[in-house]
Each structure stands twice: as structure tokens, then as C-alpha cells.
Amino acid sequence: MATRLVEVQNLKKWFPIKGGVFGATIASVKAVDEVSFFINQGETLSLVGESGSGKTTTGRTMLKLLQPTGGKIIYKGKDITNLTPNQMRPLRRNMQIMFQDPYGSLNPRMPVGDIIQEPLDVHSIGTRKERRQAVATMMETVGLRPEYEKRYPHEFSGGQRQRIGVARALVINPELLVLDEPISALDVSIQSQIINLLQELQQRLDLTYLFIAHDLAVVRHMSDRVAVMYLGKIVETAENDELFDHPLHPYTQALLSAVPVPDPEVKRERIILQGDVPSPVNPPSGCHFRTRCPYAMPICKEQEPLVIEVAPGHTAACHLLTKK
């Protein structure tokens, strides 16, 4: 039985919209609304969805980089939802995040050696000499030449910068790494290098990943399990092959069918969704997906579908599944 490293229950993150003369809260953006999932030790859970679905906010709230509006975050059996920043600090060593933008996420005025060393300084780990050594080892691990430690970020290519991002995240030996679109900004031939690096490091260091992505081919290659988000909610969760081979939620089905396949001889049945994703300020009543769903029924407008377990480990929230 796999051990659960982290679990979130009914997690909510609402951003207030202020307005009026007195700056009162007039509405909320329900970026993450009642989301539940868990990640086992050593596995990769991918969070997929389109822009605005709340996947990045979910990742950041899970790490408590954003304070949740509601729900629970359980890390190694301990409820960390209401810990203060000071209480969180020792735990932060175990959870790191890596960002999409290899240009915006590195301080341009710091040599990369110092950038990678910073987490060690913040957590006061080791002596000066040990930290330097750890940086050199880490740079080698991610495929950067240690003698480049004096260079600045602008001297590196996008792919190398993502390697710096990986090195910085891993230098303090975390257990959990949130990868927020780590390869989407990279060129095609560089993407596979970073994917390989992330997978190799996961096996070598027994890392647990929350992989946030919109490229479903990469998700299929990287994940153990996949959760699909739409407008702040998880609509379906399943093991990798199960989700890709037997998607149950109409949104997952449409999303998978929309992915272009690099083979001109494959002609796929495509479900073209009409319209755009509605605004998260004013999501549709009942099921959030009903306005674009080809199977929408009267009940979808009235009631929010419950998340049900359709097969072991395969959950989905759709009225079509409860009707039977």
C-alpha cells in the first residue's frame, strides 16, 4: 500500500473582488472550489486543464504559498492548513516549486551559484563550504557545468535556465516538488531533455511530483495519475492509462479528443466544444461544464454533480454517471 504524502480535502481559494466606494467585497473569483485529491509518496499526479481552470492556484494553495479560503491540507498525516508562516518554515524544506517562466523566475542580478544556494542560506543548512559543495554537486546533477556558477541567468538558454530552476528547487532535498508548467516555454527539442531530467531525478531521489501542465502528450508520458480541472473543480481523476483510455467525464473526453496527434494518417473522431470557458466570477449554476456540454440535461442546471468512484481509483463528477 502506497503511503500518502499529501492530501487536500475540499480545498477552496477564493479571491475577493473589491468595489464600490468603501471597497467592500462585491464578488469572489472562485479559482479553486472544493477540490480534493491526494498524492502518494514517489508518484506523479498531473493536474491538467485549460487556462483559468485553477490548476496553478491549486498547486500554490497546496503549498500554502496562498492561504486557503477553506478546506484542509494534510501533509504526512499532519493538518497544516492553519499553520503560521513561522510554523511552516521547517516544513518548507520538504516542499518546493518550480515555475514555467525560465526568464522571470531567476533574479537577473544574482550569479546562478548564489541563486541555487539561496534555499540553503534561508534554511541555514550546513557550513559555507558545505553549501558551496552542495551547489556544485547539484549543478552537476542537473547537467550544468559547476564552473558556470559565477555566470548570470542571461548567459544561459531557456533550457539551461530550467535546469537552474530544478537545481534551486532540489538543493535542499525536498520530498515534494510542484512543477508548474516546467517545459511549456521551451523549444521542442529541449523539452524532451528536461522531461528526461525530471524523470531521472524523481527515480534517483524518490521525489513526489505535482505536475501542472496543459500539454496532454507530456502528461501521458510523465504521470502516474491524472486529475482534470475545469473552472475551479476537479471533474475527473484516474490512473494514467485508465484516464486516457476510458475517459468518463464529457469534458475529459472533449479535451482528449481536441489534442492534435503528430501523425497525418490518424484520423480521430473529434468533439469540438462550442463557446469559451465561462468566467470564474460567475460560474454556471449546477455543473460548471453544462454550458458547453453536449449531453447537458435539466438536472445539470439545478444540481451540482457529486464526485463518485466509478471504478477503483477512478472518480468523476457528472450526472450522466449517477443516472445509471
Binding site: D187, V188, S189, I195, N196, A217, N240, A258, V261, E265
Partner: protein, 328 residues
């Protein structure tokens, strides 16, 4: 073989940028032909020269620092590079239109989308405003925008990314062009919206019969859309063949490596590493000697490091720039 008339024939196009840091040979020997009604994909990574090729066809290279220093771009048999600005303006946006990646920055935020499309129409056609408005609404309808009359008087910020891209397409097609250039037009869109736009472009191509040059880094997009595919690397076309050929039997090591390195959406998860192409795209200021792919090529020999290969037709319709092409 393709019996259709050749619409665009680019021969040995060279577009360089003269910057303070040195000369960037962004496009350095691009050959490409597009037949009437054909959908051609031009694929490559950043810096391969694909967008500069498009801008060269449109004669929109900012000068300085850029300059088209050589080659020919025949459109209906006449060299566009010999046309003056006045003649070019009659072609641009009329016979040849272009859509870009960022619909928000391509649209003027202070005019309604309807006015912007009408302006494009009246620029090239001698019709009055009422007729232009009628044509605009018709175009908005054609690209699948619901309630086109109401949308006519909306501003770009009132629309979603997918809608804005539809507006751009409506504007580009309003003059009934013979060639539509799409430069990463679906890259910034979500996958379900990308599917909508690609579906729309395919439908409009069938209906209106224009040729499309699709510029993208996404091999899957061209696999779905293009009949012919040209692969660019470091300013040169390295392989050019039918889409089927490119995907079934790539002959250039770069094409082969690129196709092998992308994760396959339809394949089950393995723990095997992807066969990645080592190294990175060369800096435009320091192009490698000989074949530009040689530092990353697993098959490179002494010859590849010294001499530059020519592009050769290995089998009918399949052109490859390599001394050691992969056996088909």
C-alpha cells in the same frame, strides 16, 4: 505530383539582421513553393527563421536592422522583392494576408472590431460604408462568431482569445486572399479552442480555396492540417516533403530526432527516457561551420563539419539537406 499552378515560389531567400552585436543570418537559404489551394506547414524551433520567412514574403522586415539580401519570392511568377512599396501595399492584406499569434496586440484596442474589419475591406475594395458593414457582418458570421451584428460594435478587450483570433481570421479573409499566412496563430490558445480554430481554418480553406502557409513549432498541428511540410533549422530548410513522408520516413537526422523526441499522446506510459536531441540550437551569431546541425547530429562526420550540404531531391518530391540521410 502536384499539377496545381505554383502560387508562391521562394528561391534561396536570405534575410539578415545587422545588429550591434553582429550579423544574424535569420534566413539563410530558404526554398519553398506553395501551390494554389495548398496547405503548407513550415515547422521549426525558435530562431529557425520561420517567422522571418513569413515577414519577408509580406515585405514587412523592419529595415534597419533587417534586410533581404538575396533570393527571389515569386508570386504568380512575379518577384515580390522587385515590387515597390506602393505595389506591395496592393498585394499585402489583399492577395496575401497574415494572422499572428497574439490577436490582442494585432488588433487596435480603441476601435471596434467591426470598424477594423470594415477598414481592411474598404482599403482594398471600392465599396461604400454600408456595403462594407454588410460584408463585415457576413465575415464575422463566416468565422463562426455568434450574434455578428452585436459583436460588430464590440472592442477587442470584450472578447476572449479564441474570439479575437476569429476576428483576425475574418479580417485576413475579408479580401478573399490567395494566400493566408498563419504565424503560430493557435499557439497561445487552449487546446479545446485551438481545435475550434483549426477546424474553422480547415473548413474555410475547403470553402474558399485559398492556399495556407502554417508556421508553427507544433508538429501535431501541421500533421493535422498540412499536405506538405518544410522543416527549418537555423535559417535553412533541411527537409521538405509531403506530410505523410515526413512523418513516415523522415530522412534528415534533425527531423528524425525531433519526431522521436516528442512524447506520444496515444502511447501508454513507460519509464523509458525520451530519445532527446542533445545540445541546443546554435547561437545566430556563431553558426557552426559546415552543416548547421552537425554539433547535435549523431551521424556527423568530418565532411559535415567542413562542408555545407546542398538540398537534394532524394525521391520524387522529398528534399533533404544532408550528406548522410537516414535510409527510408
Amino acid at each position: 505530383m502536384d499539377n496545381r499552378e505554383v502560387l508562391v515560389d521562394i528561391k534561396n531567400l536570405r534575410t539578415f539582421f545587422y545588429t550591434e552585436d553582429g550579423v544574424v543570418p535569420a534566413v539563410d537559404g530558404i526554398d519553398l513553393s506553395i501551390h494554389r489551394g495548398e496547405v503548407v506547414g513550415l515547422v521549426g524551433e525558435s530562431g529557425c527563421g520561420k517567422s522571418v520567412t513569413a515577414l519577408s514574403i509580406m515585405r514587412l522586415i523592419p529595415n534597419p536592422p533587417g534586410k533581404i539580401i538575396g533570393g527571389e519570392i515569386f508570386f504568380h511568377g512575379k518577384d515580390l522583392l522587385k515590387k515597390n512599396e506602393e505595389e506591395m501595399r496592393m498585394i499585402r492584406g489583399d492577395k496575401i494576408s497574415m494572422i499572428f499569434q497574439e490577436p490582442m496586440t494585432s488588433l487596435n484596442p480603441v476601435y471596434t472590431v467591426g470598424d477594423q474589419i470594415s477598414e481592411a475591406i474598404t482599403l482594398h475594395q471600392k465599396i461604400d460604408d454600408v456595403e462594407a458593414k454588410r460584408r463585415t457582418v457576413e465575415m464575422l458570421h463566416l468565422v463562426g462568431i455568434p450574434e455578428p451584428e452585436r459583436r460588430y460594435s464590440q472592442y477587442p478587450h470584450e472578447m476572449s482569445g479564441g474570439m479575437r483570433q476569429r476576428v483576425m481570421i475574418a479580417m485576413a479573409l475579408s479580401s478573399n486572399p490567395e494566400l493566408l499566412i498563419s504565424d503560430e496563430a493557435t499557439t497561445a490558445l487552449d487546446v479545446t479552442i485551438q481545435a475550434q480554430i483549426l477546424d474553422l481554418m480547415r473548413g474555410l480553406q475547403k470553402k474558399l480555396g485559398m492556399a495556407i502557409l502554417i508556421i508553427t513549432h507544433n508538429l501535431a498541428v501541421v500533421a493535422e492540417m498540412a499536405e506538405t511540410i518544410a522543416i527549418a533549422y537555423a535559417g535553412k530548410i533541411v527537409e521538405n516533403a509531403s506530410a505523410k513522408e515526413i512523418f513516415k520516413s523522415p530522412r534528415h537526422p534533425y527531423t528524425y530526432g525531433l519526431l522521436a523526441s516528442i512524447p506520444k499522446f496515444t502511447e501508454k506510459k513507460t519509464n523509458e527516457p525520451l530519445p532527446a536531441i542533445e545540445g541546443m540550437v546554435p547561437s545566430p551569431y556563431h553558426m557552426p561551420k559546415g552543416c548547421r546541425f552537425n554539433p547535435r547530429c549523431p551521424f556527423a562526420t568530418e565532411k559535415c563539419r567542413e562542408e555545407e550540404p546542398e538540398i537534394l531531391e532524394l525521391t520524387p518530391g522529398h528534399l533533404v539537406r544532408c550528406f548522410h540521410p537516414i535510409e527510408s
